[in-house]
């Protein structure tokens, strides 16, 4: 069993509770061991960085310093240097602090000077900060996930919503692409879901603008929901509690603002994993979303024997061929002759 250090983040305790419940439901079938960082504190979200530089990074670094004390093996697991953050904003803050403390050594020195006031210390580069989906796709692997599926999500049209802070700025080159990463698509496909092509997959949900500039945020939420709707998605799948909160909790206010009546439920990808692994909706926190997913999930509620997936219509002969799709993992040497 592989151990990971878990940095849950504040939302997991409140608005993103369903995320936590569903993560708890999938660790066992996937043979994962998450050990929470003792006495972790808030990462400061996107707020602290705008006020004070060194306190902001010290706040983040305290978590890294605490985590670095917990890397040793515990009963039956190997030791680890990986910190897992399921929230994209937390993931980015932790990764960024680790990176900038190296890129600008003077920052690292000052942050450590502050940490020393609390008898802590952190050497940048000691830990690997990774997001939950990174662990699931690249450590656990799609094969293992596929084999844990007992209730495939066939027929459920899902818009994969990665959000912005996960694939960018990507200091450690972990993702297949900055704009159209395929990790979430692949994972949902492994669950049997009907994944739609969703070009806004890494567009922003508005972040804290729901709090400080609602009109800006509503427009961003509208774009996401409208495009998912336009493409006949039944629900959106997200990897971040802030995205979930904005698209879910503010959807009705957005509708009022624009005079629209979108109903686009958004669930955590782990909730969909739980469903596919045969867990009951209640254990997974399904039902606590404000835009309910009842109708959407009805599509998989009934156990209809699966027919063959519809194949794409044949291209007309006079059509011109498309170039092959590019992913970073194809390797750098690839070149057009």
């Amino acid at each position: 069993m592989k151990k990971y250090l878990l940095y849950p983040g504040c939302s997991m305790e409140s608005s993103g509770r369903a995320y936590r419940d569903s993560i708890n439901a999938i660790v066992e079938p996937l043979d994962l061991h998450f050990e929470e960082i003792d006495d972790w504190n808030c990462c400061g979200a996107t707020e602290y960085l705008g006020i004070n530089l060194i306190p902001a990074y010290s706040l983040i670094a305290r978590n890294l310093a605490l985590a670095a004390k917990q890397t040793h093996p515990v009963n039956g697991t190997e030791g680890t240097r990986t910190v897992v953050a399921p929230c994209s904003a937390c993931y980015l803050n932790l990764a960024k602090a680790d990176y900038y403390m190296q890129e600008r050594p003077s920052l690292g020195v000052k942050v450590n000077e502050a940490l020393a006031a609390g008898d802590l210390q952190y050497t940048a580069g000691t830990l690997d900060v990774r997001h939950l989906i990174d662990i699931l796709v690249y450590d656990v692997g799609l094969e293992k996930i596929r084999s844990a599926v007992v209730r495939p999500l066939h027929g459920l049209k899902v818009a994969p919503y990665m959000g912005c802070m996960l694939p960018r700025p990507d200091y450690q080159h972990r993702w297949s692409d900055h704009e159209h990463p395929t990790e979430l698509d692949d994972l949902l496909r492994a669950l049997g879901a009907d994944v739609i092509d969703y070009p806004l997959t890494t567009s922003c949900c508005g972040g804290h603008m729901t709090q400080i500039g609602p009109e800006t945020a509503f427009e961003l939420i509208r774009r996401l929901v409208a495009d998912a709707d336009e493409r006949d998605a039944q629900l959106m799948a997200t990897v971040c509690p802030m995205c979930q909160m904005n698209v879910d909790a503010y959807q009705n206010e957005m509708n009022r603002f624009f005079g629209t009546d979108y109903h686009m439920p958004i669930l955590f990808f782990t909730q969909l994993m739980g469903l596919a692994f045969g867990r009951e909706p209640k254990e997974l926190g399904i039902g606590v979303e404000l835009v309910n997913s009842r109708n959407a999930l009805a599509h998989i509620g009934v156990e209809v024997p699966v027919t063959q997936e519809p194949t794409a219509p044949r291209k007309k002969v006079e059509g011109l061929p498309m170039p092959r799709r590019w992913t970073k993992h194809e390797g750098r040497k690839e070149a057009v002759k």
């Binding site: 159209h180 061929p321 170039p323 590019w326």
Partner: protein, 663 residues
């Protein structure tokens, strides 16, 4: 024997004398280095002037100097000058040593005391080293008058024709089935809009029929040995499965072949060819080749339709790859470029959004001989676009991809704008960062395109998307950019997007460079000998680079370089022999233990092993004088002329002032 050393300190006007006390240096050298053999030390205003040179020549003759040390500028500037002066006075030129006290001292330090002290150290090092210098003779080798040109694009064709017309033989090797290169794929050429095929085809035919040119298409160079004047080259002539003696180029085989394949090369992936094919109608030579990987017979063992219908029985399924060995004196590399793979810029959607095209795709689209007969249409093959966006700098001037400017993309984008306007009447937008239209008649072309009503937006496009935000965007491709001159973000819906992709080095440029013994820059282009004054030669004598292999450039520049390299080759051929720098390594056979450590170290394959004597041996003509083997030999059996252990150690001691007159 004690050497008689003369030290000459140059003022270089005030360039040196302004910061270094030259009189003090000269005086000090005579005093402190006298026991080393310095019998005369002078300073003079300009040592490199004829009077300065005469001063040295006179001393050599009259004082019988056996070593000369000139403390002046960098040896890269005037080493040759003083060597010639020494030679004129009867002293072996390699007994002259330069001490750089300008570039390394006076120009980089400002304190006179410090600079003078350092100048003394540099002179002291040079004197110690000079004493250890040995007289050397240049090696003369004859030049083979045949030339190899690699790459049959316009640069290579030009180069081959110039040499062949001068009466010397050329082997023109091309990897693809036909010569012509990228230019054969184009429709029109900027800024004059000549039809590309119309101006290229006569040159191709001339190269294909020239009595002095041996055309080797569908062939690749696999090995290069030897050195300037005497290269031995191995060429793999890939099996065409067509007997060239019998084939008349009638084309029936292509017509009858049942297997259709996407043509990734000539049609840029936008059209089809057969498994047996000539890439295009005007191909030179006009014999088809069989694509073994896609041929039904090779796959399944049956078919042979081509063989059945060939009127001359030219199909030969048993043909094998052939290895040819040729000897040449000079090599011109015209290996061209690869188009930047636009799929890497995922925000532009190429490969995901059907109606995003690359520049090469558009060339084929607008070419009358292309897959749509020159109709500019969307990927559905029939709809003409009503609005088209052309994006400049795709993959260029971008640290995420290629950091350099690809030179041709601005003009290419303007050309596309003109063609779209002319053929479809669509609204055309050009999105650019900076409009780069240097060179003759280029900016006039820009003016012309402006006049035609093309809309220009200054801004690097942020993304191309099909996610409509507003109703007018439904079903369109939306180009989102900042109009930097208006200071506002704009979303412009269009039907078609053309990416003016940049140029990048061939994917195998590194390996090719290694094969021919030349190096690549950080970006991957072949490195020229001097970026300004020697742009077609390379650091390896006898190997020249022309066209886009050296860096992005347009057709006129490629042609000019092709011709320039030929002039250099002809110059070499007409000299009949070439002098090689005598900086070489040699093995002392008495000391060599036969361990062969050095054998694998030499990148030029200059070190051979004599099994009978159990010793290694260095071919002086192949040795380039890097000295790696000298440093590696565990027995100390290899010595390097010009940079011997004795010379370097003496220089170290000298620089550290361990050679001064004992107090």
């Amino acid at each position: 024997m004690t050497e008689k050393v003369g030290v000459y300190v140059c003022h270089c006007g005030s360039n040196i004398a302004g910061t270094v006390d030259v009189e003090d240096v000269a005086h000090w050298a005579a005093e402190k280095l006298g026991h080393q053999g310095v019998i005369i030390a002078r300073e003079y205003k300009f040592m490199c002037s004829s009077l300065g040179q005469e001063l040295i020549e006179k001393d050599i003759k009259e004082l019988g100097l056996t070593r000369v040390v000139v403390a002046a500028c960098s040896p890269h500037l005037h080493e040759k000058t003083f060597r010639i002066a020494a030679k004129n006075a009867g002293l072996n030129p390699y007994l002259v040593e330069l001490a750089s006290i300008r570039e390394q001292v006076s120009w980089v330090h400002s304190d006179k005391v410090v600079a003078t002290a350092k100048a003394k150290a540099v002179v002291s090092g040079a004197v110690s080293r000079a004493i250890q210098n040995a007289p050397l003779e240049e090696l003369k080798v004859p030049i083979n008058s045949n030339t190899l040109v690699v790459g049959g694009g316009i640069a290579g064709i030009q180069s081959a024709l110039e040499i062949a017309n001068a009466g010397f033989h050329v082997y023109l090797v091309e990897r693809e089935p036909s010569i012509g290169g990228h230019m054969a794929q184009f429709d029109k050429t900027f800024p004059t809009l000549d039809c590309s095929a119309c101006i290229l085809t006569p040159r191709m035919v001339e190269a294909g029929t020239h009595p002095n040119i041996t055309l080797l298409t569908w062939s690749e160079v696999t090995n290069v040995a030897g050195y300037v004047g005497n290269f031995h080259v191995t060429i793999k002539k890939k099996a065409r499965f067509i007997n060239e003696e019998l084939c008349t180029g009638c084309g029936i085989c292509q017509e009858k072949c049942p297997k259709k394949v996407i043509d990734d090369v000539y049609e840029a992936g936008l059209g089809y060819r057969k498994a047996v094919y000539t890439p295009f109608a005007q191909a030179v030579p006009n014999f088809p080749v069989m694509d073994k990987d896609n041929c039904t017979y090779f796959e399944k063992g049956t078919c042979k339709a081509c063989e059945k219908f060939c009127p001359t029985g030219a199909i030969d399924f048993n043909q094998q790859d052939e290895l040819l060995h040729i000897d040449v004196g000079n090599i011109v590399l015209a290996t061209g470029y690869d188009l930047f793979d636009a799929r890497r810029v995922s925000n532009y959607g190429y490969g995901r959004l059907p109606n995003v095209f690359t520049s090469l795709e558009f060339e084929r689209l607008s070419n009358a001989a292309g897959p749509t007969n020159g109709n500019i249409v969307l990927r559905d093959g029939k709809t003409a676009p009503k609005s088209v966006g052309i994006i400049h700098c795709v993959g260029s001037r971008d640290r995420n991809f290629n950091n350099y400017c690809s030179v041709i993309c601005c003009m290419q984008g303007l050309k596309f704008a003109h063609l779209v306007h002319e053929r479809t009447g669509a609204t055309v937008y050009n999105f650019y960062i900076d409009m780069r239209t240097a060179y003759k008649a280029y900016d006039e072309f820009y003016q012309r395109v402006l006049e035609e009503g093309t809309l220009f937006v200054r801004g690097k496009v942020a993304e191309v998307t099909d996610a409509a935000r507003y109703s007018n965007e439904k079903g369109k491709l939306i180009i989102q950019t900042e109009d930097t001159l208006a200071g506002k973000q704009r979303r412009i819906p269009v039907d078609m997007v053309i990416l003016s992709s940049g140029l990048q080095p061939r994917h195998d440029a590194k390996e090719v460079g290694k094969l021919f013994g030349i190096s690549c820059s950080m970006d991957g282009w072949f490195t020229e000998k001097h970026p300004k004054l020697d742009p077609v030669a390379t650091m390896t004598e006898g190997i020249y680079i022309v066209g886009c292999a050296q860096g992005p450039k347009d057709i006129p520049s490629s042609v000019a370089q092709g011709a320039a390299a030929s002039a250099r080759v002809l110059d070499k051929i007409l000299q009949k022999e070439v002098a090689l720098e005598p900086i070489k390594a040699t093995v002392n056979k008495e000391m060599c233990s036969g361990c062969r450590i050095c054998n694998g170290l030499c990148p030029f394959n200059a070190i051979g092993f004599l099994a009978d004597d159990n010793v290694s041996e260095i071919n002086p003509a192949l040795c380039q004088g890097c000295g790696t083997c000298v440093a590696a030999c565990p027995a100390g059996a290899i010595s390097g002329t010009g940079f011997s252990n004795e010379q370097i150690i003496a220089q170290i001691d000298g620089l550290l002032m361990r050679n001064l007159e004992p107090a």
